[in-house]
Assembly symmetry: C2
């Protein structure tokens, strides 16, 4: 992330140390600034993460994903209420596929959130979903690590389950909750398959609507029949996901969801180092490696050759594999 770019602040390390100390000491403005640095992938973010990452690892990271209209934001609001009532702190990263689709939280949720405006143990942050999937996963992973290091007990990562990138982000949590609304018709199977693959817990929200019980039963049947995850974002799922019913708008079923989250977490601990943590670590490290590789190809020494090679590919005078070979050779030449 320390590529050439807009001129960095005078001393990123000093600034990072200052912000990190303030943020872990409880300064929410410093925390917000750190998250902005993470989102913009500045040198300050890199320096801060080098310090903060080793302090993280205690929070429970929970991904919440599902199709638009399933009630994710309302459920997040309800979860915050329950968690705060139990005296625990909670941070929310809302990966807002901003640009494409979703306009963000509904007015009702925003009003509900106002209740926590003065509560220092609730921290909510939206992040744009710009950038590549890898970038998005690493940015939200880094943001979660910062919030974790700052002592939040629970970090919720809310994404809309439409694009693969957003689904992967949620799936990189310790526990992934897939939300569904009650549905009519027979198309349920086809539609849900991809999302269900990443679920540790499945929640049918809007449980007061007709069809909720039937949808839950259908989902349970699918999950029984479900083959092991195929291809999709990574980690093995140790057991069949529970299917719960909530009505986030009234809070019904939310305490049961919290209990299920705890059970899933405890089971993961028993099973040793959870595979989710390994998958998350990989996403973070791969993204940094890819950034460095890109950075090297764009540095003073290689930029001209890189442009030349890519230009040849654009004009179909060179195939992309041949181009990759040449660029790798150039890189290794320099460092060898």
């Amino acid at each position: 992330m320390a590529e050439a770019g807009p001129a960095p602040a005078p001393d990123p390390s000093a600034r990072a140390a200052e912000l990190s100390e303030a943020a872990t000491g409880g300064d929410r403005r410093a925390l917000a600034r750190l998250l902005t640095a993470v989102e913009n992938r500045t040198p300050v973010a890199e320096a801060a993460l080098r310090v903060l990452y080793p302090q993280a690892g205690r929070a429970h990271l929970v991904g919440i994903t599902g199709p638009p209209g399933a009630g994710k934001s309302t459920l997040v609001a309800a979860l915050i209420g329950e968690v705060r009532a139990a005296g625990r702190s909670v941070a929310v990263i809302a990966v807002d596929p901003s640009s494409p689709i979703t306009g963000g939280a509904l007015l009702g949720d925003r009003v509900r959130m106002q209740a926590y405006a003065g509560d220092r143990d609730v921290f909510i942050r939206s992040m744009a979903s710009r950038g590549h999937a890898g970038g998005l996963a690493s940015t939200s992973g880094a943001a979660a690590a910062v919030l974790d290091a700052c002592g939040f007990d629970l970090v919720l990562i809310e994404t809309v389950g439409t694009g693969q990138a957003e689904v992967e982000v949620a799936a990189a949590a310790d526990t992934t909750v897939v939300l569904e609304a009650p549905e009519m018709g027979d198309e349920v199977q086809a539609i849900k398959a991809g999302l269900l693959e990443v679920a540790d817990l499945v929640v049918v929200n809007k449980g007061d609507r007709p069809g909720a019980q039937r949808t839950a039963a259908q989902l349970r049947a699918m999950l029984v029949a479900g083959a092991p995850r195929d291809g999709s974002p990574g980690r093995p799922r140790p057991k069949r996901p529970e299917v719960l019913i909530t009505t986030a708008s009234t809070g019904a079923g939310v305490p049961e969801l919290i209990a299920a989250l705890e059970r899933h977490r405890a089971a993961g601990r028993e099973a040793g180092a959870p595979a989710a943590r390994l998958a998350r670590a990989e996403a973070l490290v791969w993204a940094i490696l890819a950034d460095r590789l890109r950075g090297s190809l764009r540095d003073e020494r290689h930029a001209a050759a890189t442009d030349e090679v890519l230009g040849q590919v654009a004009e179909h005078r060179l195939d992309p594999y041949g181009a990759a070979d040449r660029l790798l050779e150039a890189l290794l030449d320099r460092d060898g």
Copy 2:
């Protein structure tokens, strides 16, 4: 893409040469097999692309994206009809975000497509949207190059504009069409911004519905006011996108859309090597480089060290930047 994996066919190069020759000669089954190889990133795909890529570059690649319900599939069907009536050949890559959301084409469109079942100059292929954004972009880019090399005049790449990955795929075409349905209410601005950033042409479909003219007028106003694209998937847009109105279900406005596609293509040619082609080349080459890097880290020589380092990150004993440094060192050590 030639990483270790399931045992490759005895001789990928020979198989690739055979399939490539058959496919460029008009054998649609061979073409379908090549595309399967591309989708599965097999050694045959790599060998075939090394041969076919330099033969590509003549087709007009058109990306079609937009939110679910805008009528993309219906428009694609209408475009096929027009293009075939003009005696040109057309291939469609439907990036089906299968798993998450969309169930694919509506029944009506499938029926309409049946009309082309025996037409050798129409080729339709869906591709799963599994995998990372980079992977998705390179897979669809490689598939487009194969279709291009096989002589299709027009290659349509249809994606649903919800996830960033899918939007980027469409945006890597020569000409990117963003489809919208007529809308009520004032939320248009916020919702469309991200999609509009990638548009070369904006189409308000379902033009027979109330609100179509008003939506088109609103979009035109937004595009006038629009700042240059910020951050989002790459290439500079030379001019303000045209806004057209179509009713794909009746074909109204479709000839005008085809004419606008041609104008955009001609303008790009006048402007010299289109930036879109460079962006596409970059996506292809970066994805291959990233694959090779991952492959190296997972090869016999490095796998154990890679697992050790990632395990330390998972346990928060090492920060991800430190991990990236170590892995890069290990890689360079080997090749230096």
